[in-house]
Symmetry: C2
Subunit: 373 residues, 2 copies
């Protein structure tokens, strides 16, 4: 086995390990064979990941006598749909997997969310393993058990809290990622610094080039991110409190994703989060909660690494502020009509703000809208 960094996610009888390191796809059989001796597996993946890595994974499993059936889906956010959920569930049943067999979610955030959800409902629940192959999935979506699909009425409105039995994050997989996708995932790495780890954010400001280049700094950034997320999830698995902090940048970000019809040519999730984090810092300054310097520092860093940092960076026209507001109120982080936002008092000082007035958000969106005169 490779010498991976291991992080424990402390969730009682749902506890599991995240292993991060080089060569984990090649060694997956060794890591997985102990989980369910004698089990078979289905590998849920997308066409891109299948082309690059499916053979390596299948062979590694076969070496440990784990037979596996592949379920290969189109790549892209549109795959998080009811139709694809049905296809995966029927594929699992059709492969004659039983309740003790394993579902391996092998891909980026879309695959992890979809396959984790499908595993949770096929035969009323089968164990699953997350094998995230994108930076976004390694530092965010594969940890914490949120799984689901998008509703025509909004992103991630349908799904389950369903914890994996194991997460294997092979850092080598990131070398084959398109640059833009790696950068988008980096937005979530920076997020952990901005939530409550100001030293980590400062470290990133200094070392981001090494993180992008790969090697020890990248593994360290991923491990830090997973630790940060695991801490929050262990405190609040079902998002009744603190876990909402992980949504920093996401309320604005989801609205922008919806406003661009989840068209990845225009905006991918991490880019939405990047703009969303910058907006959350600006809005906090506008509400006199934080100094404008914090927002400026966030913007500067996003700009430096090549991430979009304001709505005007999104190619094509955006719907008016009123329509963006509608997307926001349709978002699931609405409690009894009052808006809940993650705001900040400065770098690494985010907090959950309840009862944020809709009128203030709307006014802010109007001021920052690219078509404003």
């Amino acid at each position: 086995m490779s010498d991976a960094v291991t992080i424990e996610v402390g969730l009682g009888d749902r506890a599991y390990q995240i292993r991060i390191g080089s060569g984990l796809i090649r060694d997956a059989g060794s890591h997985i064979s102990g989980l369910r001796p004698g089990a078979r597996a289905a590998i849920v993946t997308d066409e891109n990941v299948a082309a690059a890595h499916l053979e390596t994974l299948t062979q590694s499993l076969a070496e440990k006598s784990i037979s596996s059936a592949p379920i290969v889906l189109p790549a892209g956010e549109k795959t998080k749909s009811y139709a694809m959920l049905e296809r995966v569930v029927e594929g699992l049943i059709g492969a004659r997997l039983e309740r003790n067999d394993l579902v391996i979610a092998f891909g980026g955030g879309v695959i992890g969310d979809l396959a984790g959800f499908a595993a949770g409902i096929a035969r009323r629940g089968m164990p699953f393993v997350q094998m995230p192959t994108s930076l976004l999935a390694q530092v965010d979506s594969s940890v914490g058990g949120k799984t689901g699909i998008n509703s025509p009425q909004g992103k991630n409105l349908v799904g389950l809290f369903n914890q994996p039995k194991l997460v294997l994050a092979d850092t080598d997989a990131l070398d084959t990622l398109p640059r833009r996708e790696f950068r988008a995932g980096y937005a979530e790495v920076a997020k952990y610094g901005l939530i409550d780890r100001p030293d980590f954010f400062a470290w990133l400001e200094k070392n981001w080039q090494e993180v992008f280049a790969g090697g020890a700094a990248r593994t360290e950034a991923i491990a830090q991110s997973c630790r940060a997320k695991a801490d929050v999830v262990a405190r609040d698995e079902f998002e009744t409190g603190d876990r909402a902090l992980l949504n920093l940048g996401h309320t604005f970000g989801h609205a922008l994703e919806a406003a661009t019809s989840y068209d990845s040519a225009r905006l991918v999730h991490g880019e939405g989060v990047a703009i969303g984090m910058a907006l959350a810092h600006h809005f906090s300054a506008r509400m006199n909660l934080a100094s404008p310097d914090a927002a400026a520092r966030v913007e500067a860093h996003l700009q430096t690494v090549g991430l979009p940092w304001r709505m005007a960076e999104i190619p094509g026209e955006l719907p008016p502020a009123e329509k963006l507001m509608e997307y926001i109120t349709q978002d699931k982080k609405v409690s009894r009509g009052a808006l809940t936002f993650i705001l900040t008092r400065g770098i690494g000082q985010s907090f959950i703000a309840r009862d944020v007035p809709q009128s203030e958000v709307l006014a802010f969106l109007r001021e920052n809208h690219p078509t404003v005169s």
Copy 2:
């Protein structure tokens, strides 16, 4: 409030009460208003139940200031589909219910299974209340947290373990049931006697007419059934052991339902279970596990109450034994290729038999097939 019988389902932080009695639809507002103060509700129901009882329920909720949005579906087993699941989930989101609002599953087993599943995945889980209006649902499907839909590949292959916050079983609702449906539900009542309560079965043999007539005997039969089920569920919520006993008659029954394409004109679930229980007793006798007298007694009672008791009672032609066998092996109670059946050593002495040889089952099906010469 009416003086209902209350049964506790002991499941730790997922514990809940089953209340059984007269007038519970009329008094639903009082029972539900304490669960989630300030919550709104969606009522998921079918056209038949809506016509008979929706106004009463809506008004009872309104009296306690619970506003409710109805989601009315076609009646029948075909409603347990992916398409209807999507319709309910989108309906819940479209009604702008939030994660603390309530889903009320108001109908028979189909509605309870479907709405409970939808509640479990809309916004990653909303609390729900079961208000079963059929005997089958009151004694079986609304208790224990199994929710789901049918897959084209088999019944109940997709779903969740999702416990309700409360079950309200209004015995008055049974007065408007078609006689055939009440009888089908009675099969599940008898099942609890056959599993491990021989005295209850003997009591039913004597008092079934009073149970059918209504009043105290009926409430007693429902309460006994719920207690029996709650005991098993509390011991084994996720069906890793004993809970499988509740499947007495269900492996054969599900195969027969599939073989008749879930056409309720030919066979409804409870009727399938009735035939399945008789077959399970016969098969046990054939395997020299039980005396043939037990099977004869089961048959006699089913016949007396007007339930079908052998495959020949199903109108229309059945597929050959080999095809029935295929449906059985597709059933979810298959573990690593070996067949698991609930068999018996006599009345009230059921047990989980693992490694039942497929060849014996097939031979038995051939012998008992109606088209056998």
